[in-house]
Amino acid sequence: MSLSERMLKIDRRIIFLVIGLCTLLPLLYPVGLPIKISSEVRGVYDHIESLPEQSVFLLSIDFDPASKPELYPQAIALLRHAFRKHLRVVTMTLWVSGTGMADQLVTQVAKEMGKEYGTDYAFLGWSPGGQAVIINMGQDLYSAFPSDYSGKSTKDLPVLDGVRSLKDVGYMVSLGAGRPGVEEWYVFGKDKYKFDLGGGCTGVMAPGLYPLLRSGQINGLIGGLRGAAEYESLIGQKGKAVAGMDAQSATHLAIILLVIMCNLFYFSLRQQRG
């Protein structure tokens, strides 16, 4: 077996090791490269900036712990921004296994920003049915969520004053890791109830949402950890996402090198065999 052949059939656990190290080392010894802001992320940021105080901002945390590393930083950055702008923040989730995480997330950021439950923000919890929940909220928010996460009646929450349905929401962002996610919020929500919609998603979902972005169906898109890092830079509070960008750089470079190497071996093998 020639070198090329052996290298092409390399035990994939060696690759696993390389990737593991490329992630770990920059996390332990960060460099801090500058991050450029894209227009997609700016779309969401600018819209929140333009909202008057006390507008209702609905954040749907449509992911579960599996996508936590990518979307959690996005959620934190968005919540910090919304609280800083003194918006009325309403949060919820369409993913059952994300409920506990969403609760923790909202409570933590609200505490940090000194906000009070019920008057400044609320967490409605989870409700089953996916698209049915969205339509039902568009029709009557209190029918979809008769009580919030802690069991309090949603009708008694001051933060929801004047909010009857999705039509009364100033801005809505869905942070989606799949279905139901941003697309469903458009099709079953914005299409009929006409609220402003922005999106955040995992890197996998992002390329598929570009047609919606182009056509203005969503007015901004935060894509993956990079998007979160851009948002963190925009609000000037660097967090986990910015910290992760170095590791991201290293692993990407490693993979690109792997791909180049693999092609070199491949072509040399082809040449050997004529």
Binding site: G20, P69, E70, S127, I135, P146, V187, G203, Q248, T251
Partner: protein, 253 residues
């Protein structure tokens, strides 16, 4: 430095241990991984049951009925019950009513919304003038690739949309000029898949970054360094399992 609460320390040990058990799958499928896997299935099913019970039964059904007398909610409960007849062979056909309701409603809700969101909206945005008038009698064609709204990009988008749509024509043979168009379609598809792959690499790496950040945090002395000890323990266990595995005939499960 503040003392960590006891449950956080135990939690850190448990979380670290489970993380490492799952990661041991990277070496190969092994009993440690299987243990974590089954525990995971169990815990997550349990979690979903509790959440469904709490949200559906307690908050969406019982409370509204008891507090507001919304007895109409018994209808969906009945429909839901019908679904469970699937487990009674003789009455299993009754579950069809429930499925008929769900599927029929889903189909009905989908038609107009899909037409509006994904056909009209997308066609509307693809139709853009290929020239624009800037001053008196001067037509411009903007060539700037970096401006997504430029005329050149409008043409490229038109090219992409039509060739890919053409590739998905199934009732005509792709020959002659059609073959060239279909091939262009494939090239566009491949570019898009490549972009998707590249973007996703980022996504997946962030997941690893997330887990490693936790492991780094839990290697702190305040937790009693569970990462360090448990890593050693896991590697040791894998080593022992591998040795035991070698002593047995290779077929044994």
């Amino acid at each position: 430095m503040t003392e960590l609460p006891f449950e956080s320390i135990v939690g850190a040990w448990v979380a670290t241990g489970l993380t490492l058990l799952i990661f041991s799958f990277l070496y190969k499928d092994n009993p440690l991984f299987k243990l974590a896997e089954h525990l995971y299935v169990g815990v997550s099913v349990g979690y979903v049951i509790v959440k469904t019970y709490d949200t559906v039964i307690v908050h969406l059904v019982v409370k509204p009925i008891v507090e507001n007398g919304e007895f109409a909610l018994l209808i969906p409960v009945a429909i839901g019950m019908l679904m469970l007849t699937r487990y009674v062979p003789k009455a299993a056909w009754m579950s069809r009513y429930a499925f008929a309701f769900i599927v029929g409603m889903g189909a009905g809700l989908a038609i107009p919304r899909t037409v509006s969101s994904f056909i009209l909206k997308q066609v509307e945005d693809t139709i853009r003038p290929l020239l624009s008038v800037t001053g008196p009698d001067s037509l411009t064609f903007s060539m700037n690739l970096l401006n997504p709204a430029s005329h050149l990009n409008a043409i490229i988008i038109l090219l992409g949309v039509s060739s890919v749509l053409f590739y998905f024509f199934f009732s005509i043979e792709h020959s002659g000029a059609g073959k060239a168009v279909a091939r262009t379609g494939i090239l566009f598809l491949m570019i898009s898949f490549g972009a998707g792959f590249g973007y996703t690499v980022m996504a997946r790496m962030s997941l690893l970054i997330g887990r490693l950040t936790d492991l780094i945090e839990f290697s702190d002395a305040s937790y009693g360094r569970p990462t360090v000890w448990l890593s050693l323990l896991t590697i040791g266990a894998l080593f022992l399992l591998a040795r035991r595995g070698r002593a047995q005939p290779p077929d044994a499960h």
